[in-house]
């Protein structure tokens, strides 16, 4: 029974990855653009000579790239390349492959988003639980409106405002990039400190916004949980309030939050594209931004594919792990 469940979930994962690859393959072809011809024409006009022989050259290049083959042959080749994570060369940074570029950017994004997601989850869940708890200090009620308001702001706008305040008006923190110009990336304390100081502002703008969402969700779940009969029963038994809070309310209310956390971790790669762009942070988002500017289609497609694979993989792992977290869900129900 368990094996069937895992196999079925894996099937869904493969389906998502296949859909992403197919979308990547057909969307550019639907648009009717002819990249080879366009590039040749562009170079011809740059060189300033007549466009004689362009048709022959186009045909020759299409033969070399396999673009003259029937569509289904191209599609099969493409799917083969994708399974080997071979995304071709970057057009803008020619000798480098798309896979290299993505591999360079990944650690930055995973580091920034991983830390901020976990941090805002922890802070938000505790805050949300306390906000619903009648014995929490009064002043905590005053945290609600600002949390709500921050939650409604897009990450990158808060990033703009924070940059202005803490990097421009009061030059406390660096304004741009992932590390100082001239610093050599490596595992020295000096470089680590430099890296953290650069990550602080983008991280802050993500944490401040995201915490509100976690707190709101947790508060809602706590309110529901506190109305349950077993909590009333625990109170009637005369259990300590702290025990009721931790073991009866928090333990049960946090389950949906954990699901949401796993989904949020799946969104890590694409979650803060704009924050990275605003701060010039050397992650996936900035790579994507540059690729869009330079019309580097292969890089764009590679990033989209990697992000979808990462997401499908997290969902898959979550589906496998969840019945273990919450015994009420069994493997049988899909």
């Amino acid at each position: 029974m368990q094996l069937a469940y895992i196999v079925r979930r894996f099937g869904v994962f493969l389906l998502i990855v296949w859909l992403a690859a197919t979308l990547n393959f057909f969307l550019p072809r639907l648009s009717g653009q002819d990249p080879v011809r366009a590039k040749l024409l562009q170079q011809a006009s740059l060189g300033g000579y007549a466009q004689a022989g362009i048709e022959e050259m186009t045909r020759e290049y299409e033969r070399r790239f396999g673009l003259d083959k029937p569509l289904w042959r191209q599609y099969v080749t493409y799917l083969g390349d994708m399974t080997r994570l071979d995304f071709n060369y970057s057009i803008a940074n020619y000798p480098r492959t798309v896979r290299d570029l993505i591999a360079d950017a990944l650690p930055w994004t995973i580091g920034l988003l991983g830390v901020t997601t976990l941090l805002s989850f922890a802070i938000g869940s505790v805050l949300g639980a306390l906000l619903a708890w009648p014995r929490a200090p009064r002043w905590m009620m005053w945290l609600m409106p600002p949390l709500w308001a921050l939650h409604a702001i897009p990450f990158f706008l808060l990033g703009l405002i924070l940059t202005y305040l803490f990097a421009f008006q009061i030059p406390l923190l660096p304004i741009f990039g992932g590390y100082s110009a001239g610093a050599v990336p490596g595992f020295s304390w000096h470089f680590l400190a430099d890296m953290v100081s650069h990550a602080l502002l983008p991280a802050l703008s993500i944490v401040l916004v995201a915490t509100g969402g976690w707190a709101l969700g947790m508060r809602g779940m706590m309110v529901t949980t506190m109305g349950e009969d077993y909590v009333v029963f625990a109170e009637a038994k005369g259990l300590k309030p702290s025990t009721i809070f931790m073991r009866y309310c928090l333990r049960n209310a946090i389950l949906p939050q954990v699901t949401a956390l796993a989904l949020a971790l799946g969104q890590i790669l694409s979650g803060a594209v704009l924050v990275e762009v605003i701060f010039g942070y050397p992650g996936i988002g900035t790579l994507l931004f540059q690729a869009i500017r330079e019309n580097d289609h292969f890089v764009i497609q590679g990033i989209v594919f990697i992000v979808v694979v990462a997401l499908g993989l997290t969902t898959f792992v979550l589906d496998i792990v969840y019945p273990w977290l919450d015994p009420r869900i069994s493997y049988r129900r899909a």
Partner: protein, 282 residues
């Protein structure tokens, strides 16, 4: 009238949301009366003027009067949001009602597409679509691009609501008295979901505006339209932050903030109407 006022006092989020959005509308309407929108084009003012008597919001590096840009651009951004939001909720509601009421194969397909579509990060799919389109987009095309994914979330949430609603007694009575399927959907189900649909619509508009601004900041927007997102794109493009041209990003930021906060509080307020159970816990 007095009852409305009394209700407003009980639902401050709704009042705050309406007030913020009214401020935006007022700004646009009054601005249209006093500002020449043509000044939103490049080369209509001296470049990089900080705010002054003549140019209250300053001017940018290409010589746009930023006050005129805001007056011309805010409605454009809102238009993208409303077109995409309406298409999204309209399509979503239609699919949800059909799927959840008739069940069966159609429902399985609709639910499957919505579920899988929602796991894929929307902004990236929108980027792929926008990159594939030849040439630059117009504002309306932009709205259509954003709308292409805007129906997924409404479909799922409205479907869940319809599923619980169709088990109610009055739906059964209608069925037994021989009412047709479309009749039940329009007469029995739809009116009961109106407040919920309204909250969903506001949510979708907000999400669509966010998505459109995202695409625009990445440089995939309508290059020649002075929308709020395109203004932020130029801000980023010209590194206005590092150069200290604070007025350039201040105006669009404040307006976008007001729009998002207004829409957010409006949703919270509408949620309260749609879901009276929240009243006790709030």
């Amino acid at each position: 009238m007095r009852a409305v006022l009394r209700y407003f006092r009980r639902n401050p989020s709704l009042v705050l949301g309406i007030a913020l959005l009214a401020a935006i509308v007022l700004f646009i309407v009054i601005g249209r009366l006093f500002v020449d929108v043509e000044d939103a084009r490049p080369l209509s003012a001296p470049v990089l003027q900080p705010p002054s008597q003549a140019y209250p919001f300053g001017t940018d590096r290409q010589g746009r009067d930023l006050l005129a840009v805001m007056v011309a651009g805010t409605p454009l951004t809102l238009r993208i949001g409303f077109i995409a939001g309406f298409i999204g909720v309209g399509l979503g509601a239609a699919l949800a009602f059909v799927g959840a009421y008739y069940r069966g194969f159609i429902d399985t397909v609709i639910r499957g597409i919505a579920d899988i579509g929602l796991t894929v990060p929307g902004l990236l799919v929108l980027i792929t679509i926008a990159v594939s389109i030849k040439g630059t987009l117009t504002v309306n095309q932009m709205a259509i691009v954003v709308a292409s994914l805007a129906w997924l979330y409404p479909t799922r949430t409205i479907r869940a609501q319809v599923l619980s609603l169709r088990e109610r007694g009055y739906v059964e009575v209608a069925q037994l008295s021989g009412m047709s399927g479309p009749g039940i959907i329009f007469v029995e189900l739809l009116p009961n979901l109106l407040p919920y649909l309204a909250a969903t619509l506001v949510n979708s508009v907000s999400a669509a505006i966010l998505a459109s601004i995202g695409l625009e900041v990445l440089g995939l927007g309508p290059i020649d339209a002075p929308t709020l997102g395109m203004t932020l794109y130029w801000v980023n493009f010209n590194a206005a932050m590092i150069n200290g041209w604070w007025w350039w990003w201040l105006a669009p930021t404040v307006i976008i903030l007001t729009v998002f906060l207004g829409l957010f509080f409006l949703t919270v307020g509408l949620d309260e109407i749609a879901n009276p159970r929240l009243r006790r816990s709030a």
